[in-house]
């Protein structure tokens, strides 16, 4: 897996709660059999009008958020299905960090497998980030996973609380399966002990 590096970007503010996986990537795009190329379908029904033209009113389509690598969203981001197509689409579109007050369990998990860092912060701080990114033209947020610091170019700093094991996996781009196979002997022992 690719290694997670420090991200500096203006965050894109998606002001919705319970953004579900059907919104992140509608099911008509789940039929591909590759892992790549899903970014074009991200938030499809919001980004595009019925006739296929770009929905100018959708916040992510605004020029100033076009190259965002950080997504802000309200509570319970990513609820719904287990489809990994959701993080594939987010990552392929360009998002490396998602910040919310809470995440759905499976999506949270899937993010770490795809070099995306989901960050949980308080409502108050999230409000601040939402406000700032809309307000300041030069606004930027920095996510430094190595030193566990979330900061901006105003005077906000926040210590990140990330599971140390997951942090290590992200920073080193470790392959989960290879890590598990270190325990091959234990798996075999378990199998021998539990003859069904």
């Amino acid at each position: 897996m690719e290694k997670f590096q420090t991200v500096i970007s203006r965050p894109a503010p998606l002001d919705s709660s319970n953004v579900d996986t059907d919104q992140i990537i509608p099911k008509q795009f789940l039929k591909r059999i590759e892992r790549t190329g899903f970014g074009q379908f991200l938030f499809f029904d919001w980004r595009f009008n019925d006739d296929g033209s770009i929905n100018e009113k959708f916040i992510l389509n605004e020029k100033r958020f076009e190259d965002s690598e950080i997504l802000l969203s309200q509570e319970n981001f990513g609820c719904g299905s287990s489809r990994e197509h959701a993080p594939w689409a987010l990552r392929d579109y360009g998002f490396k960090v998602i910040i919310s007050t809470s995440f759905a369990d499976i999506l949270f998990n899937n993010c770490f497998k795809n070099c995306i860092l989901p960050i949980v912060i308080t409502e108050e701080k999230l409000d601040y980030l939402f406000k700032s990114t809309l307000e300041f033209e030069d606004y930027q947020v920095k996510v430094d996973l190595e030193n566990l610091i979330l900061s901006d170019n105003k005077n906000f700093t926040e210590k990140l609380d990330i599971d140390p094991y997951r942090r290590k996996c992200l920073l080193e781009g470790l392959d989960d399966i290879a890590l598990t196979l270190i325990h091959e002997d234990k798996i075999t022992l378990y199998e021998k002990a539990s003859i069904e």
Binding site: D22, L30, E34, S81, R83, D176, I187, E191, S194
Partner: protein
């Protein structure tokens, strides 16, 4: 000894490796595979030249994409490719596949229990969030992403952080017309769609104990809609009776001793949960969802909420957005909402008891001339059972379409879709925007409520029908 929960017992017996500060490596007893979340996992195996570790614990079926009319003629070339890819992959890697020609094909969470693949005390995963269904048997069953599918394929294990436990206790006699679907919808309405995030729910209490296995599956199925990692119910005699004659169970040669073990898995008296919620079943009315998330739900005799009554700005905005998408005015009576389509099916409510109950409401009635109604049995076995009972005729005579099994309009990856603005009463589990077709409006209900809505063309209190639904 400290009393243990069902979850504790399963967790402890599946630990392969544990070390401080890291997730636990858990052994997986059953891996179910379907066509949508598996192709990239197989591809990963091929690239890394890995094999499937335990083909005897891995089973596949195709369900999400399959057409429900002419299943041998898949018009969408990409759907067809995904189905063919699964066939090829299963052949190459040596996995048993319940394919479209199999009389046992069906929605993955319907056929697992039906075939007796689902066993109490086991760990079960599938690249699908509704894997929680299998928890009804006292299993620890949860959905995983494609990376994890690949991980289980090659190691038969999974890294898991230990979730917390949440007891949802339901007591009291269910009023007539109130089904398992209404219970789970009202639980989600109560705790919210993220209320159980980070937890595994165990459903307890006399109301749950009195439910049939199929009803218990309906409850566990929607645990994920409350944010839970999994939902489970302790095994009892009802569990064992259901399992006894299932194809892959009845042939086990140590069945009696296994059954003794299974019963002992039940949570011990006095076992502690991290969180508890108590619910009174006598107060539950038939439920109808009005919004775009399963927690946006209310009783049939109530009204659509008014965002003005909510102070929290995030909540108010989400209600406003939902009403705009659903094309509903605040304060509309639920019974005044007219519908265009009825869908009876899915892994939540596509089993035989669901179809029998709905058919009792339908019998002797006609589907409203303004409504298009379809029944999609959860599996080919369910379809066959129903046809043997003559239920298909009841539905067809009333004006329903009777289809082949699959996920169908639950997520509309096959040709069964809502058009923009079309409003459906659906027995499935998600009312997200666009879930049943772009711009489609979904109201989640029980099968009997869906049947009542089909007849009247609007939501109707099923309790006004003078029909004996037995224990359903």
């Amino acid at each position: 000894m400290r009393p243990k929960t069902l979850f504790d017992k399963i967790w402890e017996t599946h630990i392969v490796h544990e070390e401080a500060g890291k997730p636990t490596l858990l052994y997986i007893d059953l891996h179910l595979v379907h066509e949508v979340t598996s192709p990239q996992a197989f591809e990963g195996l091929r690239e890394a030249k890995r094999k499937i570790r335990r083909t005897d614990k891995t089973f596949a079926t195709m369900d999400h994409n399959v057409p429900t009319i002419d299943r041998n003629n898949i018009k969408d070339p990409i759907s067809a490719q995904q189905i063919e890819t699964l066939e090829k992959n299963c052949k190459e890697f040596g996995i048993e596949l319940f394919d479209l020609a199999s009389p046992y094909q069906g929605i993955v969470h319907v056929i697992g229990p039906e075939q007796g693949l689902t066993k109490p005390g086991s760990t079960i995963v599938c690249g699908d969030s509704h894997t929680s269904t299998h928890g009804a048997f006292g299993a620890l069953a949860f959905g995983i992403g494609t990376s994890e599918v690949e991980h289980v394929m090659s190691t038969q294990c999974l890294w898991q952080n230990k979730p917390k436990t949440f007891e949802v206790q339901v007591n009291g006699k269910r009023p007539k017309g109130v089904t398992a679907k209404d219970i789970i919808l009202s639980i989600i309405g109560e705790i919210g769609t993220a209320g159980a995030t980070g937890y595994v729910i165990e459903y307890t209490g006399e109301t749950i104990r009195n439910l049939s296995m199929e009803q218990r599956m309906t409850i566990c199925n929607m645990s994920i809609e409350g944010g839970a990692r999994a939902g489970m119910i302790s095994p009892d005699e009802i569990t064992l009776n259901y399992l006894r004659d299932k194809p892959r169970i009845k042939t086990l040669n140590n069945l009696d001793s296994l059954m003794d073990d299974w019963i002992k898995l039940a949570s011990d008296e006095g076992a502690l949960f991290d969180e508890t919620l108590k619910l009174d079943a006598t107060k539950i009315a038939p439920q109808v969802s009005w919004g775009t998330s399963p927690g946006m739900v209310t009783g049939i005799n109530n009204k659509v909420p008014n965002p003005k009554n909510f102070e929290d700005p995030v909540k108010r905005k989400s209600i406003e957005d939902a009403l705009a998408y659903m094309g509903l005015q605040a304060d509309t009576s639920i019974e005044d909402i007219k519908i265009d389509t009825v869908f009876i099916g899915s892994c939540t409510n596509g089993r035989i008891e669901d179809l029998i109950a709905a058919s009792k409401i339908i019998k002797g009635n006609k589907v409203s001339s303004k409504v298009k109604a379809i029944v999609v049995p959860g599996s080919q076995v369910v379809k066959y059972q129903a046809e043997k009972l003559g239920i298909d005729k009841i539905f067809k005579d009333a004006g329903f379409e009777w289809r082949e099994s699959g996920c169908s309009m639950c997520l509309a990856m096959n040709p069964d879709k809502l058009s923009p603005g079309e409003r459906a009463a659906s027995t499935s589990n998600r009312n997200f925007e666009g879930r049943q077709g772009k711009g489609g409006r979904t109201h989640l209900v029980s099968p009997t409520m869906a049947a009542a809505a089909a007849i009247n063309g609007r939501f109707t209190d099923v309790r006004s029908f003078d029909v004996d639904l037995g224990e359903y």
